[in-house]
Amino acid sequence: MYRYDEFDERFVRERVGQFRDQVARRLDGSLTEDEFKPLRLKNGVYLQLHAYMLRIAIPYGTLSARQLRQLALIGERYDRGYGHFTTRQNLQFNWPQLRDVPAILDLLADVEMHCIQTSGNCIRNVTADHFAGVAQDEIEDPRAVCELIRQWSTAHPEFSYLPRKFKIAATGAQHDRAVIKAHDIGIRILKHPQSGEIGYEISVGGGLGRTPMIGKVVRDFLPKTDLLAYLEAVMRVYNLEGRRDNKYKARVKILVHEIGTDEFRRRVEAEFAKLDGPSVNADPEELARIESYFTPPAYQSLPEDSQALAVAKAANPDFARWVDTNLTPHRVPGYSAVTISLKPVGLAPGDATSEQMRLVADLAERYSFDELRVTHAQNLVLPHVRKDDLFAIWQALVPVGLATANLGLITDIIACPGLDYCALATARSIPIAQAIAQRFADVERQASIGELNIKISGCINACGHHHVGHIGVLGLEKRGIESYQITLGGEATENASIGEILGPGLPAEEVPNAIEAIVGVYERHRHDGERFIETVKRVGLVPFKTAFKELADAVA
């Protein structure tokens, strides 16, 4: 893992000191709310429905045990004993008091964490494939480039007041688990088809929200050494030409859409040609220093299969189900990446108590080289686990409610906080996720349905990624009640696509019935072994719309 150098340490500490002073001035009346709001947002402090909310950056979703324990401590000492992991691989606390935030930031700085650039019109926390460094289909670990971008973009004087927020995601694998096509910039590490040289494919202009767009490739192959200069060129074009007259049209996706991909690419390339690359690009020594923090841990030489695992699976069906559902193949023989689901049926997706965080931290320390990951799907990952240790881990997870076997299944639902917490929301998300999970709680049924991603947002800002859910649910207000729009056929992978609306909005209590109807169509039409999304793509929306219309007509 990356460790702060002296500059990082000093910078973060100074920011805490500055914010402590700003809070003091707010509390003594020297700063008005209008003056203070942009300052608190720059430090991750929002005002939500019931309280302030603090958003903590987890760069590229990687955490150490010590860091997770510190989050547990903060949750216990300054919040209500739990935190919420988000689709941005961040953690949010829902109940901090303003006067306590500087103390919380100090505790974060103690473990090399902060809340900088988790809000505001700047380059936000860079996200990455949560299986970075361990995935079998990976060409190169993307976290070094994410860390490089973090350092380049942090408090970048030219890009601190962009037209709108700016999100960058990176993957080093063939299969996109970082939803890069729904980001302002998506970076995919790839090998040049002729030379074999490793470089980047750059997409720009993806995003969800009220105007969902899939990112467009503007560079098929960018040499690694040119990355920062090229990103700077993209940012300059956007900073200069992105719309500032209308916040709803200010994201780079709108600029790319309005002038066209070819013209956007031309402008970026022209800017790139003018830039003094060597003065912008990372010093190779610095890049090597960063890369050295992401070298693989000291794996043991193990056989691919574990006898201990086989024995434990044979003796314990619940464990066997968890193993068959929540593991991801590891690049190193004898190891596995373990997803710890934060989607127990009936609870809020992404929430974890301080007790659970401590337990996971202990497991990471003991069994996963002191490392864990936060996924954009709001789960946690122990990335480097010996198969021999899986049973011990599962036994530790069961008593704290963290052994739910549902990775990628219908109950592994993404949901934003919605109107239960969020001041921007137009409807609730969490109770919808709970109701769907309860409807499909039967584990045999879940296994029979197979991979199915439901994503729920409580407003058009789409923090719950509903546009790219196989089934998307968007909560809106309709004539004074919560109303839910269902979309179908979205995908968050390298085949990213935006789902299509099935019909009119439904009241909350009908959403599980609608999901049931959609699943029913799938079950009637699927071929052997065909995943939900494959059936949707093959048969099209018509049969799903027909079933949905029957339901909607009955409700109307």
């Binding site: 707010r26 509390l27 019931h50 303003l98 917490y421 609730r428 109770p431 207000e477 919560e482």
Partner: protein, 118 residues
């Protein structure tokens, strides 16, 4: 802040977030006739006519300027047995707490006996 042009239908209450902890607070009539803040939605002062609404609006303006609260605005309510209940579901949630966590927030009685923090 609500002005007469944006004022919701009456009856209405004034709610805001406390500056220090962000908790939702409600304007209340004090024993001496002045206005203050309570954390208990059941005790919120209900404006039933324009004069009372104007008074709440003036209080909101003064309290925002005094840096005691943020995001103060009038909310239209129905009068229930336990006090005023916002007509809109968003504001109802704001007076209760997260619906998935009945153990948290005002619905659980958290802090409602306290006044605005000082």
């Amino acid at each position: 802040m609500a002005s007469s042009a944006t004022r919701p239908p009456l009856p209405a209450i004034l709610l805001a977030n406390d500056l220090l902890d962000g908790d939702v607070v409600f304007a209340i009539g004090e024993a001496d006739g002045s206005l203050g803040w309570t954390r208990d939605p059941g005790l919120a002062l209900v404006a039933t006519d324009d004069a009372a609404a104007v008074r709440l609006e003036g209080f909101a303006t003064a309290e925002l300027a005094a840096q005691h609260v943020v995001d103060a605005y009038l909310v239209d309510v129905e009068l229930g047995a336990a006090g005023p209940v916002p007509r809109h579901f968003r504001e109802r949630f704001k007076t209760l707490g997260p619906s998935n966590r009945p153990d948290l927030g005002k619905q659980a009685g958290e802090g409602i006996a306290a006044r605005r923090s000082v």
